[in-house]
Each structure stands twice: as C-alpha cells, then as structure tokens.
C-alpha cells in the first residue's frame, strides 16, 4: 500500500466527511500588508488566556513594568504566564469582561502604557542549537505561548511530549471565511515561521513535517515553498478549500487518513499539530527572547473603511483596532471575535485581544444579518432534510441531537456523541429551517457539565450523610448500652438498698399528698377569695414540677422495664398534679396542662438520666413549698378554728419536711431517717384519722364523697394522659385498701417486694387521710360553730 508520504507527494489527500463552502471573503484583507502595532491608551490583559489554570500574579497595582516583563508566574504545566505588552504602570487589577462566548468576566490586569515602549533586558540567541532541549522548552514556557489557532492549549505541553512523533503537522489551513492572519504572516514572515518549525523539529524529531495549507492561499504557499525548498522532510500539502479543514481532527484526517479516537490527544497517534502563528511565536521567544505580547489580527468586514491585518498588542481593546481600520457604523453594531462560523458576538468594544484572537469581524448589516440572532430568528421546525448530517464533519446527526437537546434527554445526547461536536457551525449554516443548532448544543453541553458537577456534589453529600448516619448509629448504640447499665444499676439498687428505694417511693407518696392538699386548698379557695394570688403561685410551681417530672418519667421509661413501676407512679403524680390544677382552674386548664405533658415528651426523651435526681430534688422542694403554703393558709384562714386542728396539720407538715430533706441528699444514713419519717407519717395519719373521726361526725360523709370523686377523676386523668399503661386504678384501689388497713391499725409486714407496694400504699393512705382531715377542717371552717 502506498505510504502517506507517497500519497501526499502525488498530491492526493483523504477527505473528511461533510464540510461546506461558505463565501470566503478573504479578498478583503489578503493582499494588504500587516499594519504595525499601535499602543492604545489602556491595555486590558486577562490573566487567563488559555486552557488551564491562571498563573500567580507577581505584580501589584501601582507597579511600573517594562515591555516583556512577566506579570504572572506559572507553577504548573497547564498554566501559562502573561507579560506586559509595553512599558507602563499597572493601574488596576480587577474583574473585566473577557473574550468569551458567554460574556464572562475574569481578573484582568489594567496597564496604562507610558508610551515609551521600553524593553526589559533581552538575551538574543541566534543559534538555538546551542541550547539544550530543556532550555528551549523553558524558554517557550516562560514566553507564555499557548496555541494561537483556537483553543489555546499550552504549547510547552505539546512540544515536550514524550510520545514518539511521526508527523509534525503545521496548520496553515485557515479555513474560516474572512480570516487571513496566518496567510499574511506566512506571506511576510515565512523564514521566522520556518525557524519556529525547525525548533519544534529539534525538540520532537518527527519523521515528517506536513504543512497543511488550503489551495486558496497561493502567495503564502509560494512563500512557504521557497523557504522550505531545500528541506527534505517538510512537505507542503496544498489541500482543497473546504470548511472546516483547519479543524485539528479534520486536518489530520485529510493529511494522514487517520481519525483521532474520541477523547484522545493526537500525540497518542504520533502526531503533533502546531499553528503557524504559534511557530512564529516560538521562534520569536527562543531566538529573540520575546514573549508572546502581540499577534496578527484580521480586522475585516464591510462595515470597515480599510479592513486589514494588524499587529495588535495582547490586551488592546477591540474598539481601538476597529477605529484604526475606520469603523464608522454607528447604529446597530455587530462585532464578532473570530470568524463568521465559529466566532462570537461581543457585548461591547472594550473587550481585549488575547492570544487566541485571530479576527475581529465588523460586518455590515447586509453582509451578515445573522439568522440566529434573537431579533431576526426565522427558525421553523426541523423538516428532517438531513442536510445538517450531510455536512457535519464529526459525522453526527445534528437533527437528532437537536431534538434530544430540546427534550433535555441527556442520556440520548450522550449516545449521539454530543461531546464530539466541534461546534463548527456547518450544520446550522446549511439548515433550511434556520435552526440555531450550535446554540442548542452549547446550552445542552453546559447543562450536562452543570449536571455532572451537581452529581459529584450530591455524591459527596451522600457520603457525608452516610458517615453521619453511621456515627449517630454508633452513638445511639453506645448510649443505649450506657442506659442499660444505669438501669441495671438502679434496679440492683432498688432491690438491695432499701433506703434509696424508699426515698424514691416516698417521692410518690409526697406527690399524692400534695394532690390532696391542693384539692383541699381548692375547696378552701372557693371560700377564701383573698388566697387567690397565693394559689396562683403554687399552681405555677406545680406546673413546672409536672413538667420536670414528666421529663424524668419518659426518661425512665426509655431506660428499662425495671423502672416502670417507678415511672408509673411518677406519671400518676404528674397527672394527679395536673388534676389538682384542674380543680383549681377548672376543666379548661386541665386540658392545657395535659397538652403540655404530651408536648414535653419528645424533647424530654433525649434528656440524660442524670436529670432525674435534680427533678426529685425539685419535687421535694416543691413539696416543702406546698406544705408551707398550706400551713400559712391554714393559719390565715383558721383564725377561729380550734388549736388542736392546727396542731395536727402542723405535725403533718413536719412529717413532710424530713421527706424533702431526705430526698435532697442520698446518704447511707437514709434507712434510719426513712423509717423515722415513716413512723412519723404514720403517727400523723393515725392522729389525723382519729381526730377526724372524732371531730367530724357531721362532715364524714362529705369528705368520703370528696375522696371518691377525686379517685374517679384520677382514673379519667390517666385515660387522658395515656402516656404509659400504668395500673393507677389498681393503685387507687390499693389506696383504699390501705386506708382500711391503716384505720384498722395493721402492722407493716417487711418483705422486700411487698414493702415497696405497701410502703407506697401506706403513704398514699396517709396523704389521703391528711387531705381528708384538711377537708374536714375546711368544712369546719365553713361552720366554725360545729366545734
């Protein structure tokens, strides 16, 4: 089979699929010499002008810089430094609109030239063969050279590739209409470009060097041929004019017949492609030590008086260049950076020229009335004519891509290889329905990129969430373990250490007692108006107690089954208190308080078990307070009542007090104290009962009625509360039973488990008795004469 070179020598090439022949319009500028650079009043130099990261700034506002002085240093291979295009002062570093299809803003250095154009120190190197390869690559890197044809890929990466290179391809095709920058550069500077090619040749030692140039550039071809006449392995390939033959992949296909696999760099096929302007810049950098600070830009279009190619300093605002070429179209301006096929509209004329800018197009309205602008869009439905697919150089199916893009079907877009679209615009150019196809693809690509970013973010968030969930799970297990241990400890304590158990139980009794007391108070209140304020205070206290007790209740329930009994009674307490409150404040208030109870549940479930002692402590104090209040009330209201009654109540109050104290501290001494206290309570109770029986022959029935009423209320309260399935009605029965027992004067039997119940019962009974006594006292208050 004939080799690639043989074929090329024969002058026959491969073809890429599709392609179009838009009007070239190169005659506007291709015969005029390149105008020399002029210095504008201000240069706007974007810090990032290539693909990759921006370099680090090494200057600051106010610095005086010399021409060619470095402005940003590069620290990674994918970053490219920038240089001062002329001498002057850095007046600002700020975000400005950069040349980008989306009108993006990025950090730019604003340089105000001093007009003197003073060079930095340069080291001319007439023979690059004296330099090592490393030195040359360093020079290229330091000169800030990135691909000047389109994408702006850092050149030092390309020329330092380690792959074995078969073909060095110099892209001089310049297939976009209007643009003649490379053409003119070749016409005027072929020797320098050849130097650049030789430098790359020296670096990469390719087998062959192919210069691809479209056949419409006869003068440039001649110049090249003359310059390369005596170099054997450089082949000038004059290829047919067809857009987009200047695309990297397309040119490779034309010259070598190979296709670059999707997602792979050409160097993997042993090919490297460089643009003509880049070759020029390399030669300038290596030989003249001149960084990339200016380039040839075609200023063309029929809205200009003298369209031409100019040397433009990097950073020159577009408006300065168009004025230089006589731009006078005052209304409805349209400036395009790049060619008519792939260029983009500029939002204003203060956009700077950058390293990849090869053309500024200022078309008249007749010349290019873009059918794809929003104002003049004549887009109609796709008629599936397939013309777009016929011309697509990437062999895509533009019409199907378009449907999927409109339907936002990203999976289908990926299947149709959307990302292989080079955005050449050939499809939109031929589409009879004038669908802005490329625009749809850009939007779809941006959306897919966005989606990918979001996916990555979501993935990260998911990982974080999973980690958190696991941590919480671990903590929960640990906590449960701790609670279990604590509960077991408590159970053990309950079973062994009677005193502690008793102290807990006594708290229950106290609460019940308080309930009764309150009830008594309420009945007093009915008669004694002046006690209202005091009562209110007590109620508030009770509510808070109820809340905190609820806290401990729920907590204990969570802890273990062993403590359920205890929990039950506490729930009962809370309910009882709530009920007391109800009696004081009528039914409405009761419902409120129950609501509070329920609402308090969820937050309280997380409270640690340590809260329990505090609660108990508080309860005891409350009890004391209640007792005191009771006493006061009694004293205040019983001005006329017999002293014996006061005495009895006093005793009861005193009996309560040690209880409170007992709860306050957990000492070993408790056993004795508790017994002591119990004895006292019992004594008080017996006394109270006796007295009640003795004294209240009249009021007995009423008091019993009251008691029954309260028991019924208690039951209904429990139903309403429904926080735990405690057997309070049974307890109430027990209370009654205990009451009978007590009145009968039965001695307390001591057996570990039974004690618990009995103990509580007795206390409850005592409390009830006390309450009864009080009630009697109250009724006697009502009728002091009965005594």
């Amino acid at each position: 089979m004939e080799s690639v070179i043989e074929r090329i020598e024969r002058g026959s090439f491969w073809q890429f699929h599709g392609g179009i022949h838009p009007p070239e319009q190169k005659f506007l500028t291709c015969t005029k010499p390149i105008a020399s650079a002029q210095i504008p009043e201000q240069l706007i130099i974007p810090i990032r002008q290539h693909i990759g990261q921006a370099g680090n700034l090494v200057v600051k506002v106010g610095d005086k810089v010399l021409k060619g002085q470095i402005l940003s240093a590069c620290d990674s291979p994918m970053s490219v430094p920038i240089h001062a295009p002329t001498s002057g002062t850095i007046t600002a570093i700020q975000s400005m609109a950069i040349p980008h299809p989306s009108g993006l803003s990025e950090a730019c250095i604003i340089l105000t030239p001093d007009g003197e154009d003073t060079w930095k120190q340069r080291h001319i190197c007439p023979d690059f063969h004296l330099l090592s390869k490393i030195q040359i690559i360093e020079k290229i890197a330091n000169a800030g050279i990135s691909g000047m044809g389109g994408a702006g890929f850092p050149t030092q990466v390309k020329v330092s590739t380690l792959a074995k290179i078969d073909y060095l391809i110099i892209n001089a095709a310049e297939c976009e209409p209007y643009i003649t920058a490379d053409d003119l550069l070749l016409q005027e500077h072929s020797p320098t470009i050849l130097d650049g090619i030789k430098i790359i040749d020296h670096l990469l030692s390719p087998k062959n060097i192919l210069i691809g140039i479209e056949e419409n550039k006869t003068e440039a071809t001649d110049a090249l041929k003359k310059a390369t006449a005596d170099i054997d392995h450089i082949k000038i390939c004059v290829i047919p004019t067809k857009y987009p033959s200047g695309g990297e992949k397309q040119l490779i296909k034309i010259l070598t017949g190979q296709e670059v696999p999707s997602g792979v760099l050409p160097s993997s096929l042993g090919m490297v492609m460089q643009n003509v302007a880049t070759c020029f810049a390399i030669a300038d950098a290596v030989i003249n030590d001149t960084p990339l600070i200016k380039r040839v830009v075609t200023i063309s279009g029929q809205a200009l008086e003298k369209p031409q190619n100019v040397w433009a300093l990097i950073g020159t605002p577009v408006g300065f260049l168009t004025r230089q070429c006589g731009y006078n179209n005052s209304k409805n301006r349209h400036l395009i950076m790049g060619g008519p096929m792939m260029g983009f509209s500029l939002p204003h004329d203060q956009i700077p020229v950058i390293k990849t800018t090869n053309c500024i197009l200022a078309p008249s309205e007749i010349e290019i009335a873009s059918p794809f602008s929003s104002t003049s869009s004549k887009e109609v439905e796709c008629i599936r004519c397939g013309q777009c697919a016929d011309v697509c150089p990437a062999q895509l199916l533009p019409q199907e891509l378009q449907w999927s893009a409109k339907a936002k079907d990203q999976a289908q877009l990926a299947k149709l290889n959307l990302f292989d679209c080079i955005e050449c615009g050939a499809c939109a150019y031929v589409c009879p329905s004038q669908i802005p196809l490329v625009h749809y693809y850009r939007v779809a690509k941006a959306e897919i990129r966005q989606q990918k970013l979001l996916d990555i973010k979501a993935e990260k968030a998911k990982v974080r969430f999973e980690a958190r969930k696991q941590r919480l799970e671990r903590e929960k297990v640990a906590r449960a373990e701790k609670h279990k241990k604590a509960a077991e400890a408590r159970k053990a304590r309950m079973n062994t250490d009677t005193s502690a158990a008793k102290s807990e139980k006594s708290a229950v009794a106290d609460a019940l007692a308080r309930v009764k007391a309150k009830k008594a108070q309420a009945s007093i209140k009915q008669n004694t108006a002046e006690n209202d304020s005091e009562d209110a205070t007590t109620t508030t206290t009770t509510t808070s107690a109820a809340e905190s007790s609820n806290t401990s209740t729920v907590d204990i329930t969570v802890e273990s089954v062993a403590a359920v009994d205890d929990g039950k009674s506490q729930v009962a307490n809370a309910i009882a208190r709530a009920k007391a409150k109800k009696l004081a404040q009528k039914n409405q208030a009761q419902i409120d308080s129950l609501d509070t109870l329920q609402n308090n549940e969820s937050p309280s479930s997380l409270t640690s078990s340590q809260a329990a002692p505090v609660v108990i402590d508080r309860k005891a104090k409350v009890a004391v307070a209640v007792a005191k209040a009771k006493e006061k009330k009694r004293q205040a209201s019983a001005a006329n009542s017999p002293s014996s009654q006061v005495d009895i109540i006093d005793t009861a109050t005193k009996a309560l007090k040690p209880n409170a104290v007992n709860l306050d501290s957990v000492s070993d001494d408790k056993a004795t104290q508790a017994i002591d206290k119990k004895a006292k309570v019992a004594a008080a109770m017996v006394k109270a009962k006796a007295q009640a029986k003795m004294k209240a022959s009249l009021g007995t029935e009423t008091s019993f009625n009251n008691l029954e009423k309260s028991t019924t209320n208690l039951e209904s309260n429990i139903d309403l509360g429904a926080t735990s399935e405690c057997d309070v009605p049974a307890q109430v029965k027990n209370v009654e039973a205990a009451k009978t027992k007590k009145t009968q004067g039965e001695p307390q039997t001591v057996s570990n488990i039974d004690t618990k119940n009995l103990d509580r019962k007795t206390k409850i009974a005592a409390a009830i008795a006390k309450a009864k006594a009080k009630k009697l006292a109250a009724s006697s208050d009502k009728s002091p004469t009965s005594e």
């Binding site: 992949k249 296709e259 599936r384």
Partner: protein
C-alpha cells in the same frame, strides 16, 4: 450604540425551508404541463381545489393551535402537499374528492401530529390511500388521454364533469371513458394487469390503444416531465440524490429480474419506469424529508425498499399502482431504518472500520 448579539455561526447559506418547498412546487411544472397536454384540464382543476382546501385547513388548524399563522401558512409545505395530491388524482374525479383529500392530508395527517416536521406519513399519499379505500369507484375512473377520447373535452366540459358529474351534453364519466370501439379505457398499468388475468401476454397487452407506441399514451410524457423536474431539483440540491436513485435502481432491478425470468408475464423495466406515478414518486414523493429516512445510508435503504414494494404491489397486489402504498409502508419503516443506519461518528469505533 446597541451591540448585536448572536450565536455562531453568523453566516448562513440563506436557503429556507419555504424556498425549498417552492422550488419543489416549481419543479412539478413540466409534469403538470404534460398532464394538461395529454389529459386536459382535470388535474389542474383538482390542484387548484386541493390547494385552496389545504390553505383553509392549514389556516384553521394553525389558528386553533394558536400558532403564528403567516410564516407557517406560507412555508409552502401545505401547498406542495396539495399540488402532489391534485396531480395524483384521476382527472375527472368529482370535486369533493380533492377537497376531502386535501383537508384530510393537512388537518389530520400533518397538523394533528404536530405540524411540519412531525408527521410520520407523507400527507399527500396518506390522503390518496384514504380516498382510494373510501371512494374506490371515483378513484379508479381514470380518464384516458384526450387523443383517444370519442369526444372533444373542453375546459367547460371538464369543470362540469368535476362539479356535476356530467358534461353539458349529458355524458357521464363512464361514457367519456368509453373508447370509440365501445370498451372502457383504463390506465396502461391497469390494462396490463387486467389482460394478465385474461391470459394475455404482456406483449399482447402492449397492443392496447391506451399504451400506444411506447409505454402508454401520455403517461410516458408525464413521467418524462417529472423526471425533468426531478433532475432540476437534483441539480439545485433541493432533494438528496440517494432516495430517487436507489428507488429507481431498485425498481429497475426487480422488474429486470422478473422480466428475465418470465418475459411474457412481466412488463419491461422501462414500462415500470415510465408508467403510473413512478417518476413523480421517485423525485417528489419519497424525497419528502419529513417522513423519510435522514442519513445517506438510510435513504438508500428507504429508496430501495420503496422500489421493491412498488414492484411487488404492481405485480401481485390488488391495486393497479403502488407508489402510495409503498410510500406509506416505507414511512412506517423510516424510524427503524434511521435507527440502524446511524453514521459512525468521527473518532468512534475505529477498530470496526479496519
């Protein structure tokens, strides 16, 4: 100073869908002229009726769908559909045939599926098939060429027949169709088909007066007219070359094979090419982009399939001409064809290529 923002490319080759459609309509002129020359005014009247009905239907539906009316109404696609329908109807069919057909084509086949670009079937052919099935009598009363008619038919006569069913002299369509010798004349395709059932060979059938010297009086010229128009479109790159070429080749090959096997019972290849709606179908109907395949490969398959179907239906089917049915069947197959003829994207599946 306002800056004009537009998406690239900023250039456009300046053709439009509407101008494309218009070009296709113009390209039918030679064929229509031949029709007029050999068959009189009938088809021209039907074309006018169909176009009027199509525009009314398009306008109504666009208004109902709240679409921009002017650009779509005059994008030429409705007019093209109506013209193609008018061409393919029997010249002396009653006026309501073309009106109903046109309304059906536009309102149902095109707009109900979403308008231009969304119709899965070729509207003109769908309407034709609908009419053929619904009104078989009217749709098969083909008028013989003027030169063979016993009477002279003027424009006024044609109008009267189309609108009232009788000429001013009181002749019915059936009477007009009757040969001087007293038998009803059919189209050449019909003639061959009927004769075949009567046990005559093709060569014998070729003696029939409707066929004349070549492949059918008038028909050969009509086909030549459409061929001319088609070549013009190809030259203008308004239609892709792939579909008509593969269609004609496929029909040629099929009929050639059949002719080789049994020359007595099979018409010649050129007879297939130059009778019936072959050329109209090849250049104006199967090239309808909307209901066809999109890629070059897909179109080759599409055209070949259509050619094969036309031959098979002409040979074995119950209907004399087959283009409409073949086109509809191919329309159905088009999405599938597209699915399997996706081009290989640059830089993908390179190993497969080697």
């Amino acid at each position: 100073m306002a800056f004009w923002i537009a998406s690239s490319p900023h250039n456009h080759q300046k053709n439009e869908t509407s101008s494309l459609m218009r070009l296709v309509v113009y390209a039918t002129i030679p064929g229509i002229f031949a029709q007029w020359y050999f068959f009189g005014w009938g088809n021209l009247i039907h074309i006018s009726l169909a176009v009027a009905a199509a525009i009314i239907a398009e306008f109504t539906v666009l208004a109902l769908r709240n679409k921009k009316i002017t650009p779509q109404l005059f994008d030429g696609s409705a007019i093209l559909t109506a013209v193609l329908l008018g061409i393919s109807l029997p010249a002396l069919a009653p006026w309501w045939i073309s009106v109903i057909g046109s309304l059906f084509a536009i309102a149902l086949v095109k707009q109900l599926y979403g308008g231009l670009g969304h119709n899965p079937f070729n509207p003109a052919m769908a309407a034709y098939v609908m009419l053929l099935i619904s009104f078989p009598l009217q749709m098969t009363q083909w008028q013989p060429p003027l030169s063979l008619l016993a009477m002279d038919i003027q424009l006024s006569d044609t109008l009267a027949v189309i609108f009232s069913g009788y000429t001013p002299q009181g002749y019915s369509v059936e009477q007009i169709r009757t040969h001087i010798d007293g038998f009803t004349m059919a189209t050449p395709l019909d003639t061959v088909k009927t004769n075949m059932t009567l046990g005559l060979t093709v060569v014998e059938s070729m003696q029939a007066p409707t066929i004349g010297k070549h492949f059918g009086v008038g028909w050969e010229w009509i086909n030549a007219g459409f061929l001319l128009g088609g070549l013009f479109l190809l030259g203008k790159e308004a239609i892709p070359w792939s579909t008509p070429v593969s269609f004609l080749l496929s029909l040629f090959i099929c009929s050639f094979i059949a002719f080789m096997i049994s020359p007595d019972s099979n018409a010649s290849t050129m007879f297939h090419w130059f009778t019936g709606a072959t050329m109209l179908g090849a250049f104006f109907i199967i090239t309808d982009p909307v209901s066809g395949a999109t890629s070059v490969k897909g179109r080759l398959v599409f055209g070949a399939l259509a050619g094969l179907l036309v031959f098979l239906i002409r040979k074995f089917g119950g209907y004399p001409d087959a283009v409409a049915f073949a086109v509809l069947l191919c329309n159905m197959a088009a999405p599938l064809i597209d699915q399997y003829t996706r081009p290989r994207t640059y830089g993908h599946d390179l190993e497969v290529k080697k």
